[in-house]
Symmetry: C2
Subunit: 405 residues, 2 copies
């Protein structure tokens, strides 16, 4: 066992890693930094830094307003590329714009307004805060009932766990594909089927899945989805989020924030709102050109790596991390807060410990960067595109020495 968990073994895993070379495509000024928070803010790639410099200097500084001709189609263009590379979504169904929360609001409101006779929204108690708050607000505003499924804080959400909550009163069901807290992967295809059999619509938050797990929106017949781009897509702090609306649902769904970027013949500036027929109706205001360029570069690199290879490496990295936990940390008061079955685990791992908050600060001080999530979770997100097995080894080694003190 020791041999298999030695640092030399980690080095061998890196030597055999077909994606190892991609680490060199990132800006890494401090090679001693062990970065384990790719699930919160992804790294900056060299291509992204260069692309942003061009957008800033040449496209904005030089081209000025003339470049808007190029920028205008970006939300849909980058959305199509994201859909193809990472979401299993055919063109015309994804746009990149606004924040994840604003997109959740637009999509959730569109769904419940399409089924006005149904008076219930379903989500789960372990869902990410903003996802819960958005539907809480919509339920209050529209006089609907919010039905909370109590989900497992460690294991994945299954169709069985939610079936009792989903009946003919339900308009909208919304869950996260990969749990921000536990990393557990909800059974998207089965839950989507269940929701459809009840005549309701489903909205998936893909924030912790996109770029780390091969999402199949079209194949799963998902109605609506949203997600952020600053985690595994590496598009930078506050980069614009995306939303997906299934082409078959687009004619019946209308989002509530009526803006000029959703207007047909936008620059005709007509007297009344007359929305674009397709996904563009879900656009609202002016989208950030810098952020869109960063999303474009980020997804290009992921597409080059290939989502299946990224997933495979994600499984290997997190499995290695859990093996090290079992060998070193279990006896120091830790427990794994994520599924042990890699088939239901995303690309991060939560380790739970009563002193997690303090340990997180101590790790960061020593150049190992995970993050802390209340009440007792240390989250380690070794982004497959830029993280080595030795990084995982070094992180666990540092944690073991801190916890043993």
């Amino acid at each position: 066992v020791t041999e298999r968990l030695s640092r030399a073994a980690a080095e061998q895993l890196d030597d055999a890693d077909p994606l190892a070379g991609l680490r060199d495509r990132f800006v890494i000024d401090d090679p001693s930094l062990v970065y384990m928070d790719g699930n919160s803010l992804g790294r900056l790639s060299i291509a992204t830094e260069q692309r942003l410099a061009r957008v800033i200097r040449q496209e904005w500084g030089g081209g000025l307003v003339r470049t808007w001709e190029d920028w205008l189609p970006w939300p849909g263009l980058v959305g199509d590329r994201l859909g193809e590379a990472l979401l299993g979504a055919a063109p015309g169904q994804v746009v990149v714009s606004d924040s994840t929360t604003v997109n959740l609001y637009k999509c959730a409101a569109a769904a419940i307004d399409a089924l006005p006779e149904r008076r219930v929204i379903v989500t789960d108690s372990e869902n990410f805060p903003t996802d819960r708050y958005v539907v809480e607000g919509l339920a209050r505003e529209r006089g609907l009932t919010l039905r909370m499924v109590r989900s497992d804080p460690v294991g994945p959400l299954t169709a069985e766990m939610v079936s009792d909550a989903i009946d003919g009163d339900v308009a909208l069901v919304t869950f996260s594909h990969v749990s921000f807290a536990s990393s557990a992967i909800a059974d998207m295809p089965a839950i989507t089927d269940l929701v459809h059999r009840a005549g309701a619509l489903v909205l998936w938050d893909l924030s912790h899945a996109v770029g780390s797990y091969p999402v199949e929106l079209d194949a799963s017949n998902v109605d609506l989805a949203v997600g952020c781009t600053y985690k595994y897509v590496n598009a930078g702090p506050g980069a614009p989020a995306f939303l997906y609306v299934n082409r078959a649902r687009q004619p019946e769904l209308r989002q509530p924030i009526w803006g000029w970027f959703g207007q047909r013949d936008q620059f005709e500036m007509g007297p009344a709102y007359d929305p674009e027929p397709g996904i563009a109706q879900f656009l609202v205001g002016t989208s950030p050109a810098l952020g869109l360029a960063a999303v474009d570069e980020g997804l290009k690199l992921l597409a080059e790596a290939g989502i299946d290879r990224l997933r495979e490496k994600g499984v290997a990295l997190t499995s290695f991390l859990i093996d090290l936990h079992d060998a070193w940390l279990a006896e120091l008061g830790f427990r794994v807060g994520s599924p042990r079955d890699p088939a239901t685990r995303g690309s991060h791992v939560a380790l739970r410990h009563p002193e997690a908050r303090k340990l997180c600060a101590a790790l960061i001080e020593r150049g190992v960067v995970p993050d802390f999530r209340t009440p007792d979770r240390l989250r380690f997100g070794p982004a497959p595109i830029s993280t080595r097995f030795v990084d995982v080894w070094d992180a666990m080694d540092c944690l073991r020495s801190l916890a043993a003190q």
Copy 2:
């Protein structure tokens, strides 16, 4: 007259301009470009380019998730600076985040939800499209009536023009401070008073005012305001917008998009939405760090110039432009689509001509960049901070030679 309108006279005006030196603070790769669209997309400053490079490389690339400690307060911090430098707003009332349209939606919804017994929203037919569409959508959703004031397409909106529309049924009145089309300045203090006497709330769109006109939100007792930062604030394509909520109104107003950035003790991730008591309640999702940095740099430069000096130069530039129009263009089929009285005119001028669309394209081909707005407007926005009197002269000279062909 000829002498006063010669290019030599324009050069003399530049020589006497106390703000002339500020042009050197901008990235100007092509000195022959005559940029007249500062009211649509402002120029890139050297400081902004450098700041963005630092945010990208050092704060994101090097600091990674650790920098969020610095970025988190930016929406309020930059909002306070914007409020002080350009809006006449004391701290704690402005945040920078989201697009102008999303901010319009949040503010308009907050106002009408605060006065549920009142069933009318008032705006004007010449208001910017997205402003009209947002309230059209809210009126539809809430079952309210949208009352459209027919405003003058050239002259300013006065309290007299809107008084008939504002009665005890009105919840919200929303107008633009400076018209995107005509550049006319609405009488904000008088209209705000009128709205308050009717017991309604007012929401001002400052997009074409901020950075070009000394807005006095607190002194005018404005309830709510929004505006963009990519025009005179020079924060770049799609930079985040701002919103203002008067401190006295904050306790009674709640915006409808309940997100985790408006949540008290955000990272406690509590089970129910429990909003921050102040302006932070109007935040929703993750704000773009790059865009916020650009807003900060943009407003710093404007603060250095001083809004009163910028206003003074804006009046001089637009007056010079109108004088040249009168001397050269009136006889070629043009007419001024903006107020002639500089006291009611913002920092851009609309010239109307049946062939405006074609003339705009021809100007751009010759290196003079205004923009076109349907149906017949050429808009010239000589941003005071970076535009010379000779630029105005060259633009009008080019237009005269094109129109005379």
